[in-house]
Amino acid sequence: MSHQPVKFYQTGTFTVGNRLLAPEERSVQASAKRFNSINSGHRACQGCGEALGARYAIDAAMEASHGQLVCANATGCLEVFSTPYPETSWQLPWIHSLFGNAAAVATGIAAAMKVKSIKAGKGPVPATRVVAQGGDGGTTDIGFGCLSGMFERNDDVLYICYDNGGYMNTGVQRSSATPPAARTATTMAVGPEPGNVFGQGKFVPAIAVAHEIPYVATATVADLRDLEAKVKKAMTIRGARYIHILVPCPLGWGAASHETIKLARLAKETGVFPVFEAEHGEITGSLKIRRKLPVEEYLRPQKRYAHLFGKQPRVEVIARLQALADRNVKKYGLLDGGTL
């Protein structure tokens, strides 16, 4: 696994920093000089996982590219809350594309950078790097064609998807990343199979792996060190790269604003969300579960699953969700000694 091994240092590397750690062992986020790529005053909800994940990821990418970074941003929460005209929270060159074409716009920027570099006599590998970012709606649904094209052409772009499992800023509608059984405005908790339907949707990281691009990784906002290590690693690679970050949404998930990181942690610890890495189509490692927990621990604090815990708990639905988590554990080797 790319993140540094946990050393004993009172809190190991679980905390963001630690006064006793050598500066080079601290995270980007621990530094008083971090870029704060997305600045204060943005209009994300209280406890927004996406605002946090975006700062974690883009700050790490800024550090890895020495501030030579251009960002294309799909329509979605992240774009809406960060750039209401005429304000912007972004402290790097940033462009808002359409909902569906962030990957294509980023491809164009990368091509332009290449041409500029050649014309300046600095060769075909530009120093300025390009990231594209969007939510799960802009990535797994609307922008999927452009994304797949960027992958298959192996364009030199790092695409980051912030997955909160739905179209949250338009009122919490279902996306193809909405998990089964979750209630959204378009998958109401009614009828014999309440919430989102089992057997639909897609897991884009696996599709990205199938494109056999140089680098694919998943991460959550609960494991900062892991997330930063993956972004930095992605920035060392040229070609198409994809990082998929789970970012809990207090609004859409019906969770308390202070539980954002806790829920991301529970998603990983229950196996609901597998945290892994892949290179050129092969899965190369996974972040192990530290203390395995049943999926109820993850589901119960979220109102989008409240219908599973009524007077008559829907044990059979919970069991199906547990089976999906168990499948992840097995498939991605999430427990020690697990096979890949």
């Binding site: 004993f8 905390t15 006064r19 600045n39 943005h42 209009r43 406890g47 929270s89 308390a256 539980e259």
Partner: protein, 541 residues
């Protein structure tokens, strides 16, 4: 400014948008009281000194420790560490070995010759301390650092009190004791040995003392009536332990029976074993669970070959043997005689049934209240007679070295205030940092470091110290196991997890500050603070 088509405003930063106005709750940094500190009878700031030890600054750690307790090398050996019993880390893996780190710091101070700072100004007041035990030494130390002139009058030939005449050498080597006493005397404290105070008011008058602190301890062994023949040797445990400090070691014979179930009974049985007894048998009327002695000491004694007759009382002592009666616990857990008897071979019987206080020095002092053989004191440690304070084993309390040290400190602070014509008001206590206030996810797994133990053969025949100390490597590791409950240790979590960059990092040692202009009050910082040093407080709306 010329603007492009359809653009009417200048580009601006989102900093113009003060999202702090959304807030209904706000996070505030606070210090909570770590459970170790709350449990320490000597009032040590354990988390505070471990904080320095964690960074390897042992001298700063030792200085922080000795603000409250001048005897860390002794504490690190004889304290029963209630702090570890309260330690939140026990809910993760095992309690932090606070006691072993304390000993490491104490030993380091002796090795490196660290001294206490001399008081900056003199008060011109004189205080008499009666008794050079832990309580008296502690009071003398604190009074001296507060600028008072202190004289200790000690009836015995050496300083240390029960630390010398009660605690065997295998638990507390005398060079350690001497070094820590000397460091207190180096502050200018005058120690008069072999000076028994017969009448406290007279001594105060003669020596022109403005106040007195009495800490004479409890050195009179309690007796029990046991029908015995002339040939049987019956002695009390305190005398046995005391005579260990003299030239002539006590003659107890080959088969020694100790009567009692407290720590003194264990100490005397283990001492007898080391003096060459083939059998050292403790006779105790109840069960091991009910025994007042600390379990680890019972365990060490059993390892050394000390035997225990549980549920037994001594009925009679004859020549070379004693008769014991078997007991049974009744419904309420009290031992009741069964009428079943047994004989045990015994050359001597040592009574370890508790100690009484010699209160003769208080004869004729008006206003004193004496109850159950102890002097009653107020919450300020003052007796019923103005200017006479008391502490340690002679006042009602748990009789341990650590409690005594705590009394000394408390009394010193009140004496200081009383001498200035005021009253000492302790700072209000912070709320407790219970385990539920922590986020234990962030602490990495780290098992407890065990101290080396002397090999069993040497424990049965010599008075060498049984428990070894930690070296620098493992003392540092152990110190770093501290969770820093309730007190920020600058892990940067709040700074990192804020989705609104509303936490300002002030730099090493300066902690953090909230930027309430942008803090939306989501509470992620408080939820993800490992040590519970952030609290969410409702805003006035």
């Amino acid at each position: 400014m010329d603007k492009p088509f359809a653009i009417t405003l200048d580009p601006g930063s989102s900093l113009a948008n003060r999202t702090g106005s959304w807030r209904t709750y706000k996070p505030v940094y606070l210090d909570r009281l770590p459970p170790c500190n709350a449990a320490c009878p000597a009032g040590e700031n354990i988390q505070g000194w471990l904080y320095h030890a964690e960074s390897g600054d042992y001298e700063a750690a030792w200085r922080a420790l000795t603000e409250n307790n001048p005897l860390p090398a002794i504490m690190g050996r004889v304290c029963y560490h209630p702090c570890e019993g309260a330690c939140n880390r026990q809910h993760i893996d095992a309690a932090v070995g606070i006691n072993s780190v304390e000993r490491f710091l104490g030993d380091e101070a002796i090795k490196r010759g660290w001294a206490f700072p001399k008081p900056e100004k003199k008060s011109g007041k004189r205080v008499l301390v009666v008794g050079a035990g832990p309580s008296g030494l502690s009071a003398a130390y604190h009074l001296a650092r507060l600028g008072h002139e202190v004289e200790i009058h000690e009836a015995g030939p050496y300083a240390g009190g029960m630390m010398r005449f009660g605690i065997p050498q295998y638990r507390l080597p005398r060079d350690v004791l001497n070094a820590e006493v000397k460091r207190i005397l180096d502050l200018g404290v005058v120690l008069r040995l072999d000076t028994k105070v017969a009448n406290i008011r007279e001594s105060m008058q003669v020596g022109k003392f403005d106040a007195a602190f009495l800490a004479v301890g409890a050195h009179i062994g309690k007796r029990a009536f046991i029908p015995a023949g002339d040939a049987t040797k019956i002695v009390d445990a305190v005398s046995v332990l005391r005579s260990m400090e003299g030239e002539e070691k006590p003659m107890l014979g080959r088969r020694v029976v100790v009567y009692g179930g407290g720590n003194t009974a264990i100490d005397v049985a283990r001492t007898a074993k080391r003096l060459g007894a083939t059998e050292a048998i403790i006779v105790y009327r109840r069960t091991r669970e009910k025994m007042p002695a600390h379990d680890f000491e019972v365990e060490e004694a059993l390892q050394e070959g000390v035997m225990v007759k549980w549920l037994s009382t001594i009925k009679q002592a004859g020549e070379g043997e004693i008769t014991i009666e078997k007991m049974a616990l009744d419904d309420k857990g009290f031992p009741q005689p069964t009428g079943e008897f047994e004989t045990l071979a015994a050359d001597s019987v040592v009574l370890a049934l508790g100690q009484d206080v010699d209160l003769s020095l208080l004869d004729g002092v008006p206003g004193l209240e004496i109850k159950d053989g102890t002097v009653q004191v107020g919450p300020n440690m003052m007796t019923g007679h103005a200017g006479i304070f008391a502490g340690g084993d002679m006042v009602p309390s748990e009789r341990t070295v650590t409690v005594a040290v705590g009394h000394g400190k408390k009394a010193a602070r009140h004496i200081d205030a009383w001498l200035a014509g005021g009253a000492y008001a302790p700072a209000p206590k912070h709320e407790l940092a219970g385990f539920e206030k922590l986020n234990p996810w962030y602490y990495s797994e780290a098992p407890h470091t065990l101290r080396p133990t002397l090999d069993i053969i040497r424990r049965q025949s010599t008075f060498e110290e049984v428990q070894g100390g930690l070296d620098e490597g493992n003392a540092l590791f152990e110190a770093r196991r501290c969770l820093s409950c309730g007190n920020c240790f600058e892990c940067d979590n709040c700074y990192g997890v804020c989705p609104d960059n509303a936490v300002i990092k002030l730099g090493p040692g300066k902690r953090f500050e909230f930027n309430y202009d942008y803090c939306k009050g989501c509470g992620v910082c408080a939820a993800e603070c490992p040590c519970g040093a952030i609290k969410m407080v409702a805003e006035d709306i």
